[in-house]
């Protein structure tokens, strides 16, 4: 009963790794809250959430084994 988390850009820098597993959490909003409690810097960082590769902009239900990715915008060229 786990979720796989993938991070990108400065989110990887904040969390300190780009892929890890955590115990199952029911929905994306609670997941983000949990991560933000553990890594308060996330509060000041804008990023989007994708569940199983699909970008979601609202809170959605998660299933065990889901892959949740956190992708920040960046603008370098």
């Amino acid at each position: 009963m786990e979720l796989e988390i993938l991070t990108f850009g400065q989110i990887s820098d904040i969390i300190g790794k780009s892929t890890f597993k955590i115990s199952y959490i029911n929905n994306t909003q609670d997941l983000i809250e949990n991560l933000t409690n553990e890594f308060p810097e996330l509060k000041n960082t804008r990023y989007i959430v994708a569940v199983n590769k699909h970008i979601v902009h609202q809170n959605i239900q998660l299933n065990p084994g889901d892959v949740v990715a956190l992708l920040p915008p960046f603008s370098g060229g």
Partner: protein
């Protein structure tokens, strides 16, 4: 097709699924590249070589020494010359069959619709959110396909907007992916955080590939998708972009677009007092001046030319008022972007302070 042209392009014409028909589509195509930086330097030579008939290049900037590690079209002799003009001169020598039009200007919502409407397809190789949202919104309004790309540190993103994937009818755009730009304190550019020189080469070449696929109708472009590339782990990850139904703030018409405040949307500070390096030295000699380095800890270069205290931008809003006894306060960072944000943060907290941002940052010094 005349023999000479056939000879030039024979290796791609003979490809299965390509042929003379695809080559003619390329010759007739009008493609605009926003930005002649790292991404543009990678996409443009391949687009010219492939025979894209009409290229436009928008860039207001001049070549700087710190560009050369990734902007591989430029030489040392090109420093201080306009990028768009240099690239245009190089590309017409590379392929005498094409036309290249340089636009030495900053694209904004007063000129974007006019410029973009003359092209079939746009590649975004810009280096800031302000330009990215303007180019995106103009492409949505004009219904032009947009090949997006961006890089930071060891990572890049590429994607295709405003084209429906085969079998689908909906299209997505940059705002469906990132409805809002980052918070002010996170506004970093390649100048601030660094970028591996070859990375815009990889992402820019992918943008050129997507553009050629779109023009010639071969393969499956990254429609409604974003592909990320992490150079350190060689990992690719594909995201599916869905229509963001919660999206409300969006200029839908040409009129709304022209009147939309992109500076405010991007949290940019419209009016900040800036001083040049020369003025800074003058101020150090003649006024009681406090210099604050607003970069994060351990950022390079280390300042050795004058005394500065260190308060990272992320902590400016909570710092104690140690400023009041100074006649002048000058904020500095690497590019002059974060220091401008810092000025606005301090100005809001202490309106009476005499605060400046060092124009172009430490890049103007080292």
């Amino acid at each position: 097709m005349p023999n000479l042209l056939y000879n030039r392009y024979q290796k791609q014409i003979k490809l299965d699924g390509f042929g003379i028909e695809a080559q003619e589509k390329l010759s007739n195509a009008k493609l605009l590249v926003i930005g002649a930086g790292g991404l543009g330097c990678a996409s443009l030579p391949y687009l010219a070589a492939a025979g894209v008939g009409h290229l436009g290049i928008v860039d207001f900037d001049k070549v700087e020494l710190s560009n050369l590690h990734r902007q591989v079209l430029y030489t040392h002799e090109d420093i201080s010359q306009y990028k768009a003009e240099l690239v245009a001169q190089k590309l017409v020598k590379q392929n005498i069959e094409i036309t290249v039009k340089p636009y030495i200007l900053k694209i904004d919502n007063s000129n974007a619709l006019d410029i973009i409407s003359g092209y079939d397809l746009v590649i975004d190789g810009s280096d800031n959110f302000y330009t990215r949202y303007i180019v995106n919104d103009a492409c949505v309004i004009l219904k032009k396909p947009l090949v997006y790309g961006s890089v930071m540190k060891y990572e890049g993103q590429v994607g295709v907007f405003n084209i429906a994937e085969s079998g689908n009818i909906y299209t997505t755009n940059y705002r469906d992916l990132f409805p809002k730009p980052p918070f002010e304190s996170e506004f970093y550019s390649c100048d601030d955080l660094g970028v591996l020189g070859v990375l815009p080469g990889v992402i820019g070449a992918m943008q050129a590939t997507e553009a050629i696929k779109i023009i010639t109708h071969i393969g499956m472009p990254l429609c409604n998708k974003i592909l990320t590339y992490q150079a350190l782990h060689n990992s690719f990850f594909e995201f599916v972009v869905n229509k963001n139904k919660a999206l409300v703030e969006f200029p839908h018409s040409k009129e709304q677009f022209i009147n939309y405040d992109y500076h405010e949307f991007c949290g940019e500070v419209a009016e900040v007092n800036e001083i040049t390096l020369k003025e800074l030295y003058h101020s150090i000699e003649n006024n009681n001046t406090l210099i604050i380095d607003v970069r994060e800890a351990d950022e390079l270069p280390i300042i050795t030319d004058f005394a500065a205290i260190h308060i990272p931008l992320s902590q400016l809003s909570e710092s104690e008022n140690i400023f009041s006894s100074y006649q002048k306060i000058v904020l500095i960072c690497n590019s002059g972007t974060r220091s401008k944000k810092g000025v606005s943060i301090l100005h809001n907290r202490f309106p009476k302070l005499n605060i400046y941002s060092l124009k172009n940052g430490l890049n103007s010094l080292y």
